[in-house]
């Protein structure tokens, strides 16, 4: 049974005054599932992700969590890991202290939290840089540290807001593989917001398209690939699935023009 939580969004709406940022989004995510949300800028992808993470209050509708056994679940401080595009590391803290921060906020004893942070950094192949400051890291390394921080509490839901958006192609591919294996290993439910269709297809079990601006969520497209590695990226299935998602997106662009 996966550790990840199931998520049910029903008619979720977010408004800022008169501006509608998210319109009647309904989505069911299974425990342990990896789902990506793609769509135009301003469609409400990030707003939906933040609403799931509890960073945005819903104007109407609901978002509920449940365990793999179906029991309702109210997420605690450890249950949600959030990885942002810019990494968002505290510039005055070392890499190790940054990764240990979520555990520190929870009051975990110093030795225990530093051991956990070290182990997570080792897992991310970042063992040698724990004493460095964020400014001394490359973009890819910062993202690894941000991922390590998001995963250090062993979250049941991992939210990823365009985490690879500002990275070069080589680093991006390496980190995509890394992310996939980490998510599979942890059994967490993962939601990825991205502009990159290929990234969404190769990583996800399903891809959801937010159509229009503000977007309306289309039924998610199931993804089935022979493999999730470089070979998978070269497969016919990958190309056709990318085309299907692209078609959905183009539809969304036509409808928004």
């Amino acid at each position: 049974m996966p550790r990840g939580l199931g998520i049910r969004a029903k008619n979720a709406c977010v408004c800022f005054g008169d501006v509608v940022a998210l319109r009647h989004a309904s989505l069911t995510i299974l425990p342990g599932e990896f789902i990506s949300i793609v769509g135009d800028s301003g469609g409400g992808k990030t707003t939906l992700l933040r609403a799931i993470g509890g960073l945005r209050a819903l104007s109407s509708g609901s978002i509920e969590f449940h365990s793999a056994s179906g029991a309702n679940w109210i997420p605690g401080p450890r249950d949600i890991g959030f990885c942002f595009q810019e990494g968002r590391l505290l510039p005055w803290r070392s890499v190790l202290a940054n990764v240990a921060l979520p555990l520190e906020l929870e009051g975990v004893a110093s030795g225990e939290r530093l051991d956990a942070a070290r182990a997570m950094l080792e897992r991310m192949r970042m063992g040698g840089v724990e004493r460095r400051m964020p400014s001394q890291l490359s973009g890819g390394m910062r993202m690894r540290v941000a991922m390590a921080r998001a995963l250090v509490t062993r979250p049941r839901v991992l939210l990823l807001d365009e985490p690879f958006g500002s990275l070069d192609e080589v680093t991006r591919l390496a980190l995509e593989d890394e992310l996939l294996s980490l998510v599979r290993e942890s059994g967490a439910t993962a939601i990825l917001v991205t502009h990159a269709i290929g990234e969404a297809v190769v990583l996800s079990d399903r891809v959801a398209v937010l159509r229009g601006r503000p977007g309306s969520l289309q039924p998610a497209i199931p993804i089935s690939l022979p493999s999730r590695d470089d070979e998978g990226r070269l497969s016919v299935e990958f190309a056709s699935l990318c085309a299907i998602v692209q078609h959905e997106l183009r539809g969304s662009q036509e409808s928004s023009v």
Binding site: G53, L55, L90
Partner: protein
């Protein structure tokens, strides 16, 4: 070492040139010593009166350091409270702004009434003058906290105190240190002005009293010596605060500079 020399040398040279011009000017125009004593005479008088001046310097330094310390504590705590609550900020900040416009010389007699003559009053005067830059810089730092970093704390359900201690306060440190450097100079001004009104006369008279009593005795040389020493107290305090600030921000600063 070479860099320190190239930084220090130009102002030292200018200072030496100015003092030489002053010395020559006084001798050429034969100016009376009560009007403008020569630098050499000031130095000689200061040497003769060294015990009185050093005791005064110690008193003034105590008032300035004590007042500055109080100002930092009250300024950071108040600035943090105002930064944490929009309502408090709207209610109290305009009043704090108005209060800092009240001239210290006008408040000093009140301090004597409330706290009596001596160190407590002068310390309070130093504190009142120094408090606003610390408060304003703390508030600025708090308001400037990166909203993205706040979200990291919100995701992990961090409490208000943890957010202040681990995010807002360290994030505000560069701004607070700048405020403290301004406050360090102001604290000495506040202490000396406070001493004009509330300082004790006698062997342990602070520099403010030395200045006033020397003026009455037409000992302009001693007035200059006391003014010079109060400036030294200011430099010293400013230097110590800057050094401590550098130590505090060493790691932070390097990263912030590179990140920008």
């Amino acid at each position: 070492m070479k860099r320190t020399l190239t930084t220090m040398l130009p102002p030292v040279l200018v200072l030496v040139a100015l003092l030489t011009a002053w010395q020559i000017g006084v001798q050429v125009w034969n100016l009376p010593r009560y009007l403008l004593p020569s630098p050499w005479l000031i130095l000689c008088s200061a040497w003769q009166e060294q015990s009185r001046l050093l005791a005064g310097m110690l008193q003034t330094a105590m008032a300035a350091v004590g007042g500055f310390g109080l100002a930092v504590f009250i300024g950071v705590v108040t600035g943090s409270l105002l930064g944490a609550s929009q309502r408090l900020q709207k209610g109290f900040y305009p009043i704090a702004l108005l209060l800092q416009m009240v001239p210290l010389v006008a408040i000093a007699p009140l301090l004597v009434i409330w706290l009596g003559y001596g160190l407590r009053s002068t310390m309070a005067a130093a504190c009142i003058v120094a408090i606003f830059p610390v408060l304003a810089s703390t508030l600025d730092g708090m308001r400037g906290t990166d909203p993205g970093l706040r979200e990291i704390f919100a995701i992990h359900h961090a409490g208000r105190l943890a957010r202040w201690w681990k995010l807002e306060l360290p994030g505000s440190l560069p701004s607070i240190v700048t405020g403290c450097r301004v406050a360090a100079g102001l604290a000495v001004i506040g202490a000396v002005v406070g001493e004009f009104v509330s300082g004790y006369a006698g062997d342990q008279a602070p520099l403010g009293i030395v200045i006033v009593s020397s003026m009455r005795e037409a000992r302009t040389d001693l007035v200059f010596a006391a003014v010079g020493l109060s400036a030294c107290v200011g430099f010293l305090l400013f230097g110590i605060v800057s050094g401590l600030g550098w130590l505090l921000l060493r790691r932070w600063h390097a990263s912030a500079v590179q990140e920008n």
